[in-house]
């Protein structure tokens, strides 16, 4: 974006600098700060706290300075009457920041759960989606019909309904509770795994649809050529069609990742304390709904932007001239 602007700019030197300072840097710096905080939080609470015998979730930043500053700002605003509104707002924000220092450790734990949920579901979903999409494109009539039915069933019903069916209407929860290790130590409890299974099944359907479209857009001559050198159909699909299809699917796959980061919040409806669940628990206790939901929106945004940035990297890393859209 910034490079495109700079080429049309009459003063590229200045525009470049402005572009770097105001568009690229804050994002990178912001994301870096976010992840330093998140990783520091995880290390402190999940590793160091256990080793050193500290309390988990001790805030990194004390609340006091925010409160004193808030009081000072508020006292400045008092004599100004209506004109002091912005200062009042600033004081309130600072007071919320003081409260937030206490909430943030819990939210960092919520981020851990959200990241786990998303990563597990997307990866497991992919392992199902790949064979599903291959069957959709190359399978026999019945196999194709089955794969299509599955995809349409999943895509045609709400994710929340799928989650509830698995959680309330099947004995999956009981079964998972009986699995040794579930809910012990760092291994999340059964509700988390119900959510993973539900999101996996859901994501598999969407991912298979993206993959199907990509596989179909690979030129038919590719498989013919593969067959002509003696590869079996399955080998041709595996070594020639799928690698190209995956590259073509990357942009839509990024979308799926971003959706799942946000949709994983539905897990809070079945008691999973992921980012949204934690936030809403705290909000119900403190009534600071607006502030907390603004805060959690910022955290989700940070996750989503990180995911897109990561996928951008993957895309440029795997870019091949002539396969998919290439940016030079």
């Amino acid at each position: 974006m910034s490079t495109a602007e700079s080429t049309t700019s009459p003063n590229p030197g200045l525009r470049d600098r402005v572009g770097t300072v105001f568009t690229v840097r804050p994002l990178t710096v912001g994301l870096a700060l976010f992840w330093v905080w998140v990783l520091a939080r995880w290390t402190t609470d999940f590793v160091l706290a256990g080793v050193l015998g500290l309390d988990r979730g001790t805030p990194f930043v004390p609340a006091a300075p925010f409160l004193t500053t808030a009081d000072t700002v508020a006292s400045l605003a008092a004599p100004l009457g209506v004109a002091g509104a912005p200062l009042v707002w600033l004081a309130d924000t600072l007071r919320f920041a003081a409260d937030a220092t206490a909430y943030l450790p819990a939210l960092a734990h919520g981020i851990w759960t959200t990241v786990l949920l998303t990563v597990f579901s997307v990866c497991l979903g992919f392992t199902l989606a790949l064979p599903l999409s291959v069957v959709r494109v190359y399978g026999g009539r019945w196999a194709r019909w089955l794969a299509l039915s599955y995809t349409e069933l999943i895509r045609g019903t709400p994710l929340l309904a799928q989650l509830f069916v698995l959680y309330f209407a099947t004995s999956l929860t009981q079964v998972l509770r009986g699995v040794p290790g579930v809910g012990v130590g760092f291994v999340p409890a059964q509700a988390f795994w119900v959510a993973v299974i539900s999101f996996t099944l859901n994501s598999a359907a969407y991912q298979s649809e993206y993959l199907r479209a990509s596989l179909e857009s690979v030129d038919g001559g590719q498989l013919t050529a593969a067959r002509a050198i003696g590869l079996s159909k399955l080998e041709g699909i595996r070594y020639v069609v799928v690698p190209q299809g995956l590259r073509l699917a990357l942009p839509s796959w990024t979308n799926e990742l971003v959706y799942l980061i946000k949709y994983s919040s539905l897990a809070s409806f079945i008691t999973v304390q992921e980012l949204y669940g934690r936030t809403s628990t705290i909000a119900n206790e403190t009534y600071q709904y607006t502030e907390l939901f603004v805060l959690v929106a910022i955290l989700y945004l940070a996750l989503v932007v990180s995911a897109s940035a990561l996928m951008d990297r993957v895309e440029s890393h795997t870019a091949t001239a002539g396969v998919g859209h290439t940016r030079q």
């Binding site: 030129d219 001559g221 590719q222 013919t224 050529a225 593969a226 067959r227 002509a228 050198i229 003696g230 590869l231 079996s232 080998e235 070594y239 020639v240 690698p243 190209q244 590259r247 091949t320 001239a321 002539g322 396969v323």
Partner: protein, 250 residues
Amino acid sequence: MTQPLLSIDDLHKSYGSEEVLEGVGLEMEQGDVTVLIGPSGSGKSTLLRCVNRLTEINSGRIALDGQDVTGTDTDVNELRKQVGMVFQDFNLFAHLTALENVTLGPKKVLGMDAADAEEAGRTHLEQVGLLEQADSYPAELSGGQKQRVGIARALAMDPELLLFDEPTSALDPELVGEVVEVMRDLAAEGITMLVVSHEMDFARSAASDIVFLDDGEIVEHGPPEQLFQNPTAERTEQFLSRLHAHEETA
């Protein structure tokens, strides 16, 4: 009498109700270069595709080295190891470099280890004059270079027979020469080739036989001098004069 390398006998092929090959017979000895000419839609591609079983035949017999090609118990992948194919639109594997295009078959089909396959692959790229482009992707190559990689890819399987389906028709005229040159070299090395092409230069200089196919039938079959200078069938004469007219305007 030596056994022909390829023998096709009374081959019939239909798509639906349309009969595309109506009893085609053809024999090729080891080292023969047979050039197949004929109007568009006459069944030339279909005939080639029957030989490596990209297309299944309706009736008739195809044998390679005396082995039945079309039997239900014939291992098609085994057959395709012995019959290489070069396509009109190259069909290079778009996600692989030139070298990787050439080594995929040897690695996955012949089970060669990577180092051996690469060494052999470089030799084949050198043979088509493209050693320097070994690490280029197809999209980075010119049409002529792409087709030469396509030829190297087919050669890498060390086939007994090479099929060419209009290898130069998708090329800009100035790029045809480099591909014809490579094909002529292969012919001179004694590689058995069945070539669909209207490249008269190649046909005159390298072909041992010309076959004229029209409407799913072999109308005429003979050495190039005879077929080009003294065609016996009127249909051949007409086709050739149209071809010459086209060549002169092109």
